[in-house]
């Protein structure tokens, strides 16, 4: 049984370790594809130059320095199954990771494909975001100068050594947690192996086998058992990868696999040897006819404390991730309806504020409204910092229009229409009313606070999706829970173009649902020369949705493993105590004392240890991971109760089993 357990744990470690290595390799593919070595981020501040010109300049820069410059972007249509690479310059980059055939990309990640696209075909994909490059220092300097010249900021990502990267994985990521916990499960199983073999080890010492040989042989035995499971796990992983991602992807993973196997076997061998040394049989144990249970108890207690601490680290994060993923799924459902929507950037927005341009701008918005191609959404509180008194009970103050609400909030579900509850202006609390009384007349055509076609609503649904100011620069969206909604039926009729609609479209808070309609109108308007780019603004949200989807799965796996580890550590602890107290159990129970009364003193100690661990662990986890305090408290309480319950059941079960075995005279 214990042999099978060690093999099984070896297999679990292999699976999670390879998934971690796979994830890292996949991340490297995405962050540094096609032999690139460095990454940087470009933020577009207020450039007035058209995107086409910027792209051409960037291409020229790449050619001039013989560099490689690429940008990995999720595909707008298939965000979770397609990732494209946009390349710059005139020489198409090549490399083995990821695999590219006829401009079709096969990513390591199963069922994720993509296309290699030249920058001239990047379309509405924005220029801001992360890039990967291979090039000289001179190229980097030239890039920085180019960005500076075009009012864009550039930040090169810091490079970290591989061990530091993996350390962060182990502590901060779901899959890293899963590896750490499965290794901990391995340690627990190894301790149980030593407990069950303690008598045999003592007898071997008594039989004249040197201690060094006992340590060596036992370490070899355990490592051999673990390796069997480990290689079965690896084989399963490679078969799956071969089927899911293609046989040609296996070679990319081969070298990382070799490193993983060597590292795992080396670390395991050292750890097993250390445990063997810690619980080595001694002559005094032989004279007392006892195995060194005290050391085992120490190890067992350490394992228990560690298992609770790990659970405290993982469980709140898992719940947070699950909730975040649910929110993101909702968010994505909203983005799904807006995935074709675009925003516009102006090359000289200030130049539009005159009698020549303003009528054209007004015509443009009127036409967009007529063709049902305009949505308005902005969290006012993010644009204008409002204090708590002004916010009152609301978490956000939102200005939006009917089109946005119907597209993103209601979607296909007409029942959700009831979630908007109209309120009167006088129902709003005084501080906010005062603020709106000053602000709204500036925004409205009539100069009124509440002109016709504008109303105030509260929201009683799950979440109300809102765009933050500067949404076009990739700022994350807002899920308002209890907003005050200033709902405008027809923004172009109600709101001033100069003081509201134009600035809103410049900051990305007016979006156009159909790019083709927008382009056809702009192409016939002189306004086109003032537009620097037409960009999709969903890239950032889609990328995060992808990442969260993967990560939340690993957190769930880590969470499940954590509970298994806690159970295993509890069982081991119970077995150790029972091994040490078998006579006590037999004697007391045959004297009519119930099992629950027999185990009460030790259970009391376990509860004290658990309380201390949960308290200290909770503080440490809070300082490392900063989970929601209430969530951490609840998780701690649930884990504590589970721990006590598991221990109680474990102690009772093994006491009964021991009693029965002693009645059979099975030593």
């Amino acid at each position: 049984m214990i042999k099978q357990s060690i093999r099984l744990v070896g297999c679990i470690i292999a699976l999670f370790a390879l998934i971690l290595v796979f994830k890292h390799s996949h991340l490297m593919q995405e962050e540094k594809p096609l032999n690139t070595t460095e990454r940087f981020n470009i933020a577009v501040l207020s450039t007035t130059i058209s995107k086409e010109r910027l792209v051409n300049e960037l291409n020229a820069l790449v050619d001039q320095y013989g560099a490689v410059l690429v940008k990995v972007v999720p595909n707008q249509d298939n965000y979770d199954s397609q990732k494209d690479i946009i390349w710059f310059g005139s020489l198409q980059p090549d490399g083995t990771s990821p695999r590219i055939r006829d401009n079709r990309i096969s990513w390591l990640e199963p069922s994720v494909g993509g296309e290699l696209i030249h920058s001239s075909d990047m379309g509405v994909r924005p220029l801001y975001g992360s890039y990967s490059m291979l090039g000289s220092t001179e190229f980097k300097v030239a890039l920085a100068e180019w960005c500076n010249k075009n009012e864009m900021s550039i930040d090169f990502y810091k490079q970290y050594p591989l061990p530091a990267v993996f350390l962060v994985y182990f502590i901060q990521h779901g899959i890293g947690n899963a590896v750490l916990i499965s290794f901990f499960l391995f340690l627990t199983t190894v301790i149980v192996w030593f407990v069950t073999h303690a008598k045999a080890r003592a007898l071997r010492l008594l039989g004249g086998v040197p201690l060094q040989r006992i340590h060596f042989e036992d370490t070899l035995t355990i490592i051999s058992l673990t390796s069997q499971g480990f290689f079965v796990g690896c084989a399963a992983f490679f078969i799956y990868l071969g089927i899911a991602s293609g046989i040609d992807q296996l070679s990319i993973m081969f070298l990382p696999f070799i490193y993983t196997a060597i590292t795992f076997i080396a670390i395991s061998a050292v750890v097993v040897l250390l445990i063997s040394l810690f619980v080595q049989p001694k002559a005094k144990h032989l004279s007392f006819r006892k195995i060194p249970l005290k050391q085992f108890r120490l190890l067992g207690r350490a394992a228990l404390i560690f298992s609770i601490a790990l659970a405290l680290m993982v469980v709140p994060t898992t719940i947070t991730m699950a909730s975040a993923y649910r929110d993101l799924s909702n968010d994505y459902a909203s983005w799904e309806s807006l995935k074709d929507a675009v925003g516009i950037s102006y090359n000289d927005v200030n130049g539009l504020y005159n009698d020549y341009w303003m009528p054209m701008v007004e015509n443009f918005f009127a036409e967009m409204a007529d063709r049902d191609n305009l949505c308005l959404s902005m969290a006012v509180d993010r644009a204008i910092v409002l204090d708590n008194a002004k916010m009152g009970k609301y978490d956000h103050i939102v200005v939006t229009d009917r089109a946005w609400v119907e597209t993103t909030v209601f979607g296909d579900n007409s029942d959700k229409a009831d979630s908007l509850i109209p309120i009167g202006f006088d129902d709003i609390h005084a501080e906010l009313k005062d603020f709106l009384s000053k602000q709204l007349p500036i925004w409205t055509n009539t100069g009124e606070i509440q002109p016709e076609g504008m109303g105030f609503c509260e929201f009683n649904g799950d979440s109300f999706l809102v765009l933050p100011p500067n949404a076009s620069y990739g700022n994350s969206t807002i899920q308002a829970k209890n907003p005050l909604i200033i709902l405008v039926e027809e923004p172009v009729k109600t709101l001033k173009v100069s003081s509201f609609l134009l600035p809103m479209s410049s900051s990305g808070n007016i979006v156009f649902k159909n790019e083709d309609v927008l382009r056809s109108v702009l192409n016939e308007s002189p306004l086109m020369e003032k537009i620097s780019s037409i960009d999709s603004f969903t890239e950032g949200a889609l990328k995060y949705a992808q990442l969260f989807k993967q990560e939340s799965f690993y957190y769930f796996a880590a969470c499940a493993l954590c509970l298994v580890s806690m159970g295993a550590a509890g069982i081991m602890s119970a077995q150790l105590w029972i091994g040490e107290n078998r006579k006590r159990i037999f004697t007391l129970h045959t004297a009519g004392i119930k099992y629950s009364a027999i185990i009460l003193p030790v259970l009391r100690k376990e509860v004290i240890v658990a309380v201390c661990t949960v308290l200290v662990g909770g503080i440490v986890v809070y300082s490392i991971r900063h989970p929601e305090p209430l969530l951490l408290l609840l998780s701690s309480a649930v884990l504590f109760l589970m721990y006590v319950l598991l221990n109680f059941v474990g102690y009772i079960f093994f006491s009964k089993r021991e009693f029965l075995q002693m009645s059979f005279r099975r030593e």
Binding site: R582, K583, R584, F586, T587, L588, H589, T590, A591, G592, I593, K594, F659, M662, S663, F664, R665
Partner: protein, 206 residues
């Protein structure tokens, strides 16, 4: 208290250990379960003591059928009426002699404990750890527990095994005293001298 077994049978791992055993152990008498090693003496003792479930047959305590008793009923029987003496695992080594007699940490009557320890020849050893006791002393400690409890039935597994002659005689005489006080003594033993001193003898494996 009388303990009666009617056609008790038991197999363990497919091996027949007890086959249609019938016996009566009466209060005030010593009943020996004897036979070769592996004949099922200890197993039968454990079955009669309700520690071990049986496959078929019936066990009666004072004419009450106790075969199907639940765990809670058996625990109550052990608490109120029975006492077990096992040389190997009836004593908790890392506890004191005093604790091993009463099996209670608190609320003991120290006077009574001293009294019974004096009866079994362990006076002044109350605070010693059981670990330091010899085999004979441990057996006597088990008997002291039975005396303190005033057990109606005493189950003793090999009470004279590995004891020197004087210790052996002391243990036998203590068990006889318990029987004289009315307790039913059931012994699993292969010590023929002890068997000869018992009132009833059940030979197993014949």
């Amino acid at each position: 208290m009388n303990i009666r077994a009617n056609n008790v049978s038991l197999s363990i791992n497919g091996r027949r250990i007890l086959s249609n055993v019938t016996l009566l152990a009466e209060g005030g008498k010593m009943t020996a379960l004897t036979g070769k090693s592996g004949s099922g003496k200890t197993t039968l003792l454990n079955c009669l003591g309700l520690i071990h479930p049986i496959d078929s047959g019936k066990i009666f305590v004072d004419n009450n059928d106790v075969t199907g008793w639940r765990e809670s009923q058996r625990t109550l029987f052990w608490k109120d009426h029975a006492s077990f003496i096992y040389q190997d695992y009836g004593i908790i080594d890392d506890e004191t002699v005093s604790f091993n007699v009463s099996l209670k940490k608190f609320g003991n009557n120290q006077g009574q404990i001293k009294e019974v320890l004096e009866i079994v020849g362990l006076q002044g050893r109350e605070k010693d750890k059981a670990l330091v006791l010899s085999g004979g002393e441990k057996q006597r400690l088990g008997i002291a527990r039975a005396i303190l409890k005033n057990a109606s039935v005493i189950f003793a597994d090999e009470p004279t095994a590995s004891l020197d002659n004087s210790n052996r005689q002391l243990v036998v005489s203590l068990l006889k005293d318990c029987a004289n006080r009315g307790a039913a003594i059931i012994l699993a033993t292969h010590d023929e001298r002890l068997v000869a001193e018992c009132d009833t003898v059940v030979r197993l494996g014949t």
